[in-house]
Symmetry: C2
Subunit: 607 residues, 2 copies
Amino acid sequence: RLCSQKNMPDQNSFASRTHACGEMRCTHIGEQVTICGWIQYQRHGLFVILRDFSGLIQILIPQDASAGHLKKTLYDLPLESVVRVTGNVVPRPPGQENSEMPTGEIEVQARDVEVLNICKKLPFEIKDFVKKSEALRMQYRYLDLRSVQMQYNLRLRSRMVMKMKEYLCNLHGFVDVETPTLFKRTPGGAKEFVVPSREPGRFYSLPQSPQQFKQLLMVAGIDRYFQVARCYRDEGSKPDRQPEFTQVDIEMSFVDQAGIRKLIEGLIQYSWPEDKGQIGVPFPSITYSEAMQYYGIDKPDTRFEWKIIDISEGFRNTDIGFLRDALSKPEGSVRAICVPDGAKHLKSKDIEFLRKDSRAQFNQEVTVVALKPDGTWKSPLSKLLTEEQKHLLCQATQAKAGDLLLLTAGEHEPVCRALGKLRLQCAELLESRGVAVRDSSAFHFLWVVDFPLFLPKEDEPDKLESAHHPFTAPHPQDALLLYTQPDKVRSQHYDLVLNGSEIGGGSIRIHNAELQQYVLEKILKEDKRLLSHLIEALDSGAPPHGGIALGLDRFIAIIVGAPSIRDVIAFPKSYRGRDLMSNAPDFVAAEDLVPYHISVAWPAVSQ
Amino acid sequence: RLCSQKNMPDQNSFASRTHACGEMRCTHIGEQVTICGWIQYQRHGLFVILRDFSGLIQILIPQDASAGHLKKTLYDLPLESVVRVTGNVVPRPPGQENSEMPTGEIEVQARDVEVLNICKKLPFEIKDFVKKSEALRMQYRYLDLRSVQMQYNLRLRSRMVMKMKEYLCNLHGFVDVETPTLFKRTPGGAKEFVVPSREPGRFYSLPQSPQQFKQLLMVAGIDRYFQVARCYRDEGSKPDRQPEFTQVDIEMSFVDQAGIRKLIEGLIQYSWPEDKGQIGVPFPSITYSEAMQYYGIDKPDTRFEWKIIDISEGFRNTDIGFLRDALSKPEGSVRAICVPDGAKHLKSKDIEFLRKDSRAQFNQEVTVVALKPDGTWKSPLSKLLTEEQKHLLCQATQAKAGDLLLLTAGEHEPVCRALGKLRLQCAELLESRGVAVRDSSAFHFLWVVDFPLFLPKEDEPDKLESAHHPFTAPHPQDALLLYTQPDKVRSQHYDLVLNGSEIGGGSIRIHNAELQQYVLEKILKEDKRLLSHLIEALDSGAPPHGGIALGLDRFIAIIVGAPSIRDVIAFPKSYRGRDLMSNAPDFVAAEDLVPYHISVAWPAVSQ
């Protein structure tokens, strides 16, 4: 039996079949087999194609009179009915092999059939090429999951998670510890679901991550912790966010940043699916400020170049007013990206849209230089620059005929952010026109490090808030700055980026109680009582520690090339947070709320 | 390095140590090592005992003048401070070995020390023999978890779960699928926590198990599903119940009861901890009615005999009024258990308590026969029975001098239940007096099968409710009874019992929509609209399927011999559902409830 091969699971153990539909090959010819599956289609009164999780197999219906009952049974069944067939594996007649089908060289000559269930209702056909609306797919998720793609996605996810656990637990001694999801509300935790308890006015909260628990486990001497942790975030309606999601949560003691990075590189390499090619380690690394400078974003998509280039030097003595103004500002610069073949493929309408968007979002004017096929310029700058200046600019940006240059000038950050966004927008536009910009089968991992520890608060820019969370340790080189210029302190936070998406983040944590208290009280002005148990814990022998969390849903979605994380979650919620199959959330009888001491505050009906 | 041994995880990878404290042996003598750990104790100005998750190691402080600083640093540190020590592994001087300590033949001669954190606060000593109150343990759980026992419990749990996953995923092709925990409220789901959503009046519910999802995954063709699933149950204050708990949840298609049982026996055997001895498979099996008849309970503790014996025959022609009355009832019988040495160890006070309890709980009069050392009877029956009758009774129950016979008479069920309870109570009483009744290192697994499918509703005994849940399939032999005498139908439910505790339960499910609808509508009188999506699913090609769920917390607690499941959960709630460390659940600001359209209904202050 194929399934008894080394390292292959026995997928037929304990079941009333001998083989899975898709696993049979020439080597099975002559064997009597029993298989179970769904009727995919019937044809010519002669064949039934049976499907299970492993694939398709052709059943040959005997045509002799004695088998009339068998033929009638099999052939009259509605599609998607479930049968058990016993028969012999035979080669297909020469010329009738199907090379598109892994089982295409054989068929099963039916000798006996048992109808296990008749399909009576089918809102859509179970064929991958049949397009279904998202709402219909969600309402009949149990049918949608029968598709080849969804079976592949869920099975790949399961296998990868298993490999991750092997790596962490079996190879590196990590301990899988479950942490509570009914916990205390984080002060200001606006995105936390509340869960009423039976004590009047008291609520649990569904935490956004096990952050506190993983750190407490280090204080507890667990040394190495991991958990595939369910997390919760109530963000209302946001596309591609789920109210509950999963992270691979990791923390270890006596480790530094380099250690965590090596651990994660090993983890991903070990669990990487075979059919997705090789990935190299170590992953490249870039500082936050480099990422901003070259890509205008903290999660650069490094599958393509088009870096942001500082062309300020070329305009030091310029007469062009807006460039001169920009350069006179502190941290003022002129920067550009070169979109290869951009002039060839982008229309004036596209360019108008991009300029408008940049203005609206970043308050940045974009100046465009289109290099015509003969190398001449189409640009408002054209008349303002000398041929030599143009030549120097093309040299700096490596622009050639057919390319498009996008320039902005002003303060460092908005200039970079605007160009960073234009870089991604232009890549998408070109790809939508059929130009190959990014290799869709490539996987570019990137560490982003040296983030700022604090950022100005959005609504009170005089005050600081944690860029990530208040437990992040400062960069050792900036330790003293903490007491003088906290806004200049870099952190020991690191993000893992894959193809321009953040798939993980973590940090070395503060393990010193005094430092933690200073950060909470003096810098963040938090009420220290709210986290007093954590301070106490640090004071009772906390080891140095650090960790990371990988966003499993997004990570898997990128690997399988799914457009949404909903395609790698068995039963996702709609973007409005609804389960369209069961119609959750739903109304609850008032008396069911009594034990929880809450009542519904119905909003006044607005005119 | 020890850790590079085959099949042993490398517990020092990526960390700033070369070895764990407890792993060093004679073979390491001569090596320079770096270890990190907590100061367990100091002695004689000469030694520091360092501890980490792996055990203890003795650090030898050099006594030469040049190492004065090192000595001062190490020796002045408070207990539980965290240090990194570099030094050489040396043999202990002859005669100073400690055979109690796995590392007792060696010590580490310190050459360098780095203080990583100073312990400033310690509400109790980290020594296993120091008794702490449960409340103090919970408040400082991060210290409590440093104990040898808690480290053992959590690590054994992690390893067992890992082995289970290997067995299911790698050996048998199960797919690990995560199912939602924000779901729709089950009608009448009084034990489900509600989670308010941002839609006025609509609530999610935290489900008690993924029952619906696992069945839908079978309809979806996943074929074999498992999940280590977080489940929720709001039972208010119950000892040894947790508001969130974990089950190993399993479902497969095209399987029968025997298949599931073999699967689970293999799972437990594969994941069984090496240090807990061997377990044999297959596990013995007993029907529900046999369990009731012989043990008076549906989860018999088979580590000891003391079976219930039907002694009705001996009293067929009795003149004793209450026995004659009992036997004249339908299903009336006289039964007994024999407690070996019971007369020797149980006092009249004990027996009075037992009789009173039996009367209160089961309305059963217990008649006691104490066999004195000389074999004579001390019993109210003594004068009423002939010597021959006495002899026959002793023969039937195998009672001998020093034993205690407990008799009850009446209807079958209360008689058995009362004796079943007495059996357990007497075992506990004898054990509390130091009599060995049950082997505390023995593990007796037992399948209980052929449960009734329905039971009379507690408050409306004319109506039926599901004994387990409405998706349980009827026993094939009783299929037709369903339409005539549903109360007589046995189910395809099975329970797995370990040492008298139910550690798992499952069933073959109904996969036929019409049958499911009949059960829901005609027998259970449920509103069919509430489960219409499940009926629809069964009608769209549901395969035959069945499954099981193992209660992981209790299973692990029994294996490690913990008195409570709180000892195998890292951060448990108190019996009142509180987290004593963070003080959850807690009050929430009224404005934080506004987005959820709920308000607190404060109970009126009672006089």
